[in-house]
Amino acid sequence: MSLLSDPRLAEAAGHLPDYLGNHLRVSLAALALGLAVSMPLAILARNRPVLRGALLAVASIVQTVPGLALLALFYPLLLALASLTLSWFGFDFSAFGFLPAMLALALYSMLPVLRNTITGLNGIDPALIEAAQGVGMTERQSLVSVELPLALPVIMAGIRTASVWVIGTATLSTPIGQTSLGNYIFAGLQTQNWVFVLFGCVAAAALALIVDQLLALLESGLALRRRVRAGLGGAGIAALVAAALVPALARTPSSYVVGAKTFTEQYVLAALITERLQAADLQATTRAGLGSSVIYEALASGDVDLYVDYSGTLWLNQFHQTSIEPREKLLTDLKALLAKQDITLFGTLGFENAYALVMPKKRAEALGIHSIADLVAHAPTLSIAGDYEFFSRPEWAALRKAYGLSFRMQRQMQPDFMYAAVASGDVDVIAGYTSDGLIAKYDLVTLDDPKQAIPPYDALLLLAPKRAQDEKLKAALKPLLDRIDIATMREANLRASGNDADSSPASVARWLWQKIGEH
């Protein structure tokens, strides 16, 4: 099947107005803010060597922070700030999505603008500045009508660099809740939907190129005094700004936001829930690719209305409980803990997605390993791989403590690649997810946990405080409760990790609904 007739392409194109509009909005806002802050700073600093050095040093340091980390840092920062303003001034704001993304990106855009503006202004022939004084210009007049125009090519080069950086880096704002073209990339990477990944990359690159070329047009039009050219560049940019603003004005705030974390199962379940809500005539949108702690805070503050989490994750990570309790008891206690934050534990979906140590079945049999206890003796000669968070999670600490496990080497991997890696022998053991479809596909086995070091991980539907009494929502969700067993979820996950037209979260969600609807 050719790429052009692939239904995933049509699905991707369907998201484009939303993703592109949001991407453009956050990028342009960040650039505008970045420019508004860094231009005056640069002008102020041009004759002050100490300030200049300090500014450039700070901006350079910011630049060395990876984009993803910078974006991630702004979330807790704003969250803390919001709780401060709430206790001091009686109001708070959403630390989710647009605000942290825009602030982080604005910070990111500052270095090239600062550096080029300072360089451009300091590179002007001193004789011309003297001439400006000599003909009777004030300092401000000299700056506006002589120095800035002369430095314009260098300044514009900085602005163009900043805009390309910001548009590129904005793809990383998906995990903190800002919809962007990165949604294609994050979703595509998780569900092995390469059409999505490619689509997102091409769209982001095209946007960056277009903005860059429009700025170039504007710049050369100004420099060469060609009104038409400058006008075209300016009009193009104005059109982009307008395009970014229109959907923001028309947005309906009343729709339900369904959150999803950054792995395949979450994409599928969010798609399923969104579809169910829409079937019940409720407006619903999916916000996928959110970080684990981001999504919980977003639910608590109402930026996300509902999502699926797992009992063990909440128990250990959110509430920092150290005791491991039996399944039912843990659920009851968890419900009480959640209720204290006004979050509704609406119910379980019926399956568990626990961490488990996973090996190829043949290898395990050959070594005589059935449980983690059997693994202990072999571990010092074996390597283990986990997802990006596993080795810093309490489960790993609990496992090592309970069994005295110690491996030769440990590696972090993209979750979807772990299973192939352990199947091919690149690593010996992985910390996999029990509901993952790839376990069956690669003929892997999950090792028993006789000491119950790993807590239960029932999939749970959580509702935001403001949805606690929403009976329409609850009625729409009710048919999903306790209907998805582990085998069904594994199959759904396997389907979603395929690289074909039926593997998009939406189509798998449709398959899943048919399957559980039959019961």
Binding site: A127, L128, E130, A131, G134, M137, Q141, V146, L150
Partner: protein
């Protein structure tokens, strides 16, 4: 002598925290309608002396008056708009057209655009750049001599009584320089200007100026008409005065028939 339009009284200026003396106790009057040339080598303090008059530089000691007013009591920006200034090698703004360069001071003074346009045409004619569409050209599209003509037009745009010139023709080829000097001298007379011109070239000073001031080592060594200067007792001044004549004699000897009969 006519009343002084610019007057320096015991003026001194040091740079670098007092380490370098640029102007040392100079007293000098420039009369109304006078063309004064200030002659001196590099580092003699002549350029500093010029810039003190429109407060591009402020004096450490002494008093400078312009049209009878102490410059320290005046707003420097307003003062500069009142005085024409011709920069070494033009000082034209490369991003502005010839017309915009010439009109810059009137625009700062709030003159109406239509008036500025008329004025620009007048000035272009005055410096013999009328015709040929110079008005919309950019400075880099002009020759050195044309640029300097634009520089002169810009200095005259706001109808100043005083024009300060910082080695205005120094970087030009001899023919252009000669023509431009003659043209400016005519303008000086026609517009009843008072001109102070810096130059390192005594021949130029002798040909253009009514009076000459000689600077050396930050001091004013001598001032007077060419005739008065030839009687100076300063060896440096005498040497400066003799050089053009000696050169002329050598040229006459080399090129028989070229000189006076």
């Amino acid at each position: 002598m006519t009343p002084a339009l610019i007057s320096y009284t015991h003026v001194s200026k040091r740079f670098g925290g007092g380490a370098v003396t640029a102007v040392n106790d100079v007293s000098l009057d420039v009369g109304t309608g006078e063309f004064l040339a200030v002659v001196g080598g590099s580092g003699s303090g002549k350029t500093t002396l010029l810039r003190l008059a429109n407060r591009l530089i402020d004096a450490d000691q002494g008093t400078i008056t312009v049209e009878g007013e102490d410059v320290r009591a005046l707003d420097p920006v307003g003062l500069r708009r009142r005085i024409g200034y011709v920069f070494q090698s033009g000082g034209l703004f490369p991003h502005l057209s010839v017309g915009d360069n010439i009109g810059v001071t009137p625009r700062l003074l709030g003159t109406r655009p239509s008036e500025i346009a008329t004025r620009v045409d007048e000035l272009l004619a005055l410096v013999r750049l009328d015709g040929g569409g110079y008005r919309n050209r950019l400075p880099h599209e002009l020759s050195g001599g044309q640029r300097q003509r634009v520089g002169v037009a810009r200095a005259l745009a706001a109808k100043p009584r005083i024009v300060l010139m910082d080695e205005p023709f120094g970087a030009l080829d001899p023919l252009t320089r000669d023509a431009l000097g003659e043209d400016y001298r005519a303008l000086h007379k026609k517009l009843a200007l008072t001109t102070v011109m810096i130059t390192h070239d005594m021949t130029e000073a002798l040909l253009l100026a009514d009076r000459i001031a000689v600077m050396g080592g930050a001091k004013l060594l001598a001032q007077g008409t060419p005739a008065e200067l030839s009687e100076s007792r300063e060896p440096y001044v005498l040497e400066l005065m003799r050089t053009p004549r000696r050169q002329a004699e050598r040229l006459n000897a080399l090129l028989p028939g070229a000189g006076p009969p």
